[in-house]
């Protein structure tokens, strides 16, 4: 059967056909769709875990218990999961376990551009790198076989471009599950990493790596494609596709298994070409290894380390290095594009985060100064976190000072206070992010007597990554109603005494709540609760601006709501975007009462 699948869908289908029984993940762009796809198969167990560390531990437990398991995460997720990831390497597995890790060259939706291939080397586990959806599907079966054949977890490394591109997949397998599952067997020397056993297992890892390297020499997915011998290109992943495009006549060593590397295969290939280069995204992972073998090779001298590659970048870089690329068809005229107004992502119209950020902006005096006015010093420091609400960094809300990694807002706020920053510090964190890694720093703040305010933005979903459920929603990854974990209960349980829940669309209550906690010396938590506008069941009564009453003061524009627009010195609300009764915060703000449901205003052409 021929199907059009994204890389993530193909990985999920490949794993399903390879007999995976337990799949876990925490959502993160670009890996989220792996679990979403596999969770649709009801004959396996799939879960959204609270974070990547837990997800990896659940998958590892399942592999110990004798069923094939997999865990998927984005590149920075593996930072969170690195502890059990290293543990999985040393204990090994019982049934196969695959760790899917999706990098984000180009930083489409991440906080850094780390190259996770080094994690495979660090943990001394094998790694496979598909270069399109067909390979994503095919490689999963090999990954599980290697895992079981060598008693090791296997990493499958993709990138945003592989995970999110769709291409043709020939689906030629059906699901096969090993008939006899090997159940969990008592073996403390393998599963209990007391020093006495861990020392023995370290020796095992080294010996395993030698066997894996030998296996990679004959691994059928590592391919040599002979063209002319003047140029040999070692490459992997999506960079292979760009290299094929730019050098249609060259010879290629296309590596599928990029750790450990097949040294003999590489040496033989190098010996038969006049010039050897490596084309790879981000770090010189392959190049360093080949150089260390004593082979003359270049790559990162001209291929950028920073950012995502594409055929244009590869071509231009190779031309600058004197390589034989074809003449460029025409000069780019990108300068016109650079002058056009940009269109950065925004909080959606009706977003439950808008009101609280507007309040933090105004109370904290954080607006960018208008032309001609002296800048005011802001009276609040706001430490931020990872989610849609990070977009409140942009004007006009300008309500975020820091964003580092998942859960960092609370610890950073405490650190700022203990350093004597001199202003009240507010940490802002989403509900899913709080579940992921906000609880332990809150415990820390209680224990160490911080006076910070923590605002938990509870929109009842993991919105940024595509609206996945989490413990606070009480719905499982497979759509089952499950035990709902209450935010208020967790917060009170840590020992916080001042806990308030405020409606995200009640501007008066938000303002009063924020003012009151800022005046109080207590550690406080405000849960701001409101449904994510993308998930509203219905929209009603879009608002409109009565141009008779409007004096163009522009207060509503300072919400940064994209439904409120200005054209030819006239403000209007795009009725197709406004969420109406579900929101109303612009109506609450308007000093001239010029905003009302569309049917109640004078002017008709409000679209």
């Amino acid at each position: 059967m021929i199907r059009l699948l994204s890389g993530n869908e193909a990985l999920a289908l490949g794993a399903y056909h390879a007999g995976v029984r337990v799949a876990t993940a925490y959502p993160g762009t670009p890996s989220s769709e792996v679990l979403e796809s596999i969770a649709r198969f009801k004959d396996i167990y799939a879960e959204w875990s609270t974070n990547e560390k837990v997800a990896t531990e659940v998958a590892l437990g399942a592999a110990y218990a004798g069923v094939r398991s997999m865990v998927s995460m984005k590149q920075v997720g593996l930072n969170v999961a690195s502890d059990p990831f290293m543990a999985a390497s040393i204990t090994g597995i019982n049934a196969g376990m695959v760790v899917i890790c999706a990098g984000d060259p180009g930083i489409h939706s991440s906080q850094n551009e780390q190259d996770n291939r080094y994690y495979a080397k660090f943990a001394k586990i094998p790694m496979l790198e598909p270069s399109d959806s067909q390979e994503a599907y095919d490689f999963m079966a090999y990954a599980f076989d290697i895992s079981e054949g060598f008693d090791t977890p296997v990493m499958v490394y993709t990138t945003t471009r592989i995970s999110h591109s769709k291409s043709v997949v020939k689906v030629d397998r059906e699901r096969t599950v090993p008939a006899k599952q090997r159940g969990f067997q008592y073996d403390v020397s393998k599963y209990v990493m007391l020093p006495v056993f861990a020392r023995l297992r370290h020796a095992f890892i080294e010996e395993r790596l030698v066997r894996l390297a030998a296996h990679s020499e004959t691994f059928p997915l590592n391919r040599v494609i002979w063209g002319r011998h003047h140029l040999g290109i070692v490459t992997s992943g999506v960079a292979y596709q760009y290299a094929r495009e730019v050098f249609p006549g060259a010879s290629f060593l296309k590596l599928a298994m990029t750790y450990p590397l097949p040294e003999k295969l590489i040496s033989d290939f190098a010996a038969r070409v006049d010039r050897l280069i490596v084309i790879e995204e981000l770090e010189p992972f392959l190049q360093e290894h080949i150089q260390a073998m004593g082979i003359k090779v270049s790559g990162k001298e001209f291929i950028p380390r920073v950012g995502e590659l594409n055929p244009d970048i590869v071509e231009e870089a190779c031309r600058s290095a004197g390589l034989p690329v074809q003449a460029s068809p025409q000069q780019e005229k990108a300068e016109t594009a650079a002058e056009l107004p940009r269109r950065p992502p925004l909080l959606c119209p009706g977003c439950p985060h808008t009101g609280i950020f507007f309040v933090l902006n105004t109370i904290g005096q954080r607006s960018r100064p208008q032309k001609g006015n002296a800048p005011r010093e802001s009276s609040l420091v706001i430490t931020g976190d990872i989610g849609c609400y990070t977009l409140a960094t942009y004007p006009p809300l300008s309500a975020m000072d820091t964003t580092a990694c998942m859960g960092a807002s609370i610890g950073q706020a405490l650190g700022m206070e203990k350093a004597g920053v001199g202003k009240k510090v507010v940490a802002v964190i989403g509900d899913s992010t709080f579940m992921h890694s906000g609880i332990t720093p809150l415990v820390d703040a209680v224990y160490n007597e911080g006076h910070i305010t923590v605002v938990i933005l509870d929109n009842g979903t993991t919105a940024m990554t595509g609206h996945q459920d989490h413990p606070g929603t009480g719905i499982s990854a497979q759509g089952k109603e499950t035990t709902k974990v209450e935010l208020e209960g967790i917060v009170r349980g840590t020992g916080v005494k001042d806990v308030r829940v405020i409606d995200a669309f009640d501007m008066k209550a938000l303002r009063a709540g924020v003012r009151s906690v800022l005046d109080s010396p207590e550690l406080s938590v405000i849960i701001v609760r409101g449904t994510c506008s993308v998930r509203l069941p219905a929209r009603s009564a879009p608002r409109a601006i009565d141009t008779e009453k409007c004096n163009l003061c522009g207060v509503c524009l300072r919400l940064g709501c994209s439904a409120i627009q200005k054209e030819d010195e006239r403000l209007f609300i795009d009725a197709a975007l406004c969420t109406g009764d579900a929101c109303t915060i612009c109506e609450q703000l308007c000093p001239r009462q010029a905003i009302a449901p569309q049917s109640m205003t004078m002017n008709e052409d409000t679209e």
């Binding site: 025409q330 005229k333 594009a337 994209s562």
Partner: protein, 198 residues
Amino acid sequence: MKKLDLLITGVGGQGNILASDIISQAAIYSGYDVKKTDTLGMAQRGGSVLSNVRIARQVYSPLIKAGEVDILLAFEKLEAARWSHYLRNGGIAIVNNQSLPPMAVSLGNEQYPGDDRVTSILKQQTDRIYFVEGIQRARETGNIRTLNIFMLGCVSPFLPFRVSTWKDSIAERLPPNLQKINITAFNRGRKEIQGVHL
């Protein structure tokens, strides 16, 4: 056909991604290799959205080189101008005659380019520019959200797929209750483009 590279541009929420899925599906039904890649994630929240669709006997890179796009299908005028340098000389631009001003324009910090400017930017690459009244036609069809399928109708005469293949691909990607209205939008777009003069 040696190869066909399409770039579909627009603003998050206009339905570009479904449109590029349907084109890709039609390419598969017509026996071609296809790769497509969209902007997702953070770029989705009302930001610029871009889909590369590449159709050939064999496709390597999912990303198209600048200056090699055969057809630019733009759901919004500013987004047409923004990506125009990807068009090859003499390529085809089909542009929905709609402006969605970005926040910076509403806040008065930047200016939305006028129609003359959009046209002159596109003209640097090609004279084959078609402006279509997508929003008006979609509204006439009865649902403004059929814009993306109307745009597919507009591009359809330039692609080597049978009309029945287009309709099968649309049917496969849409729930039954939305199929009739979207087929109407598709037919409308196909008719519309034949009446537009350069």
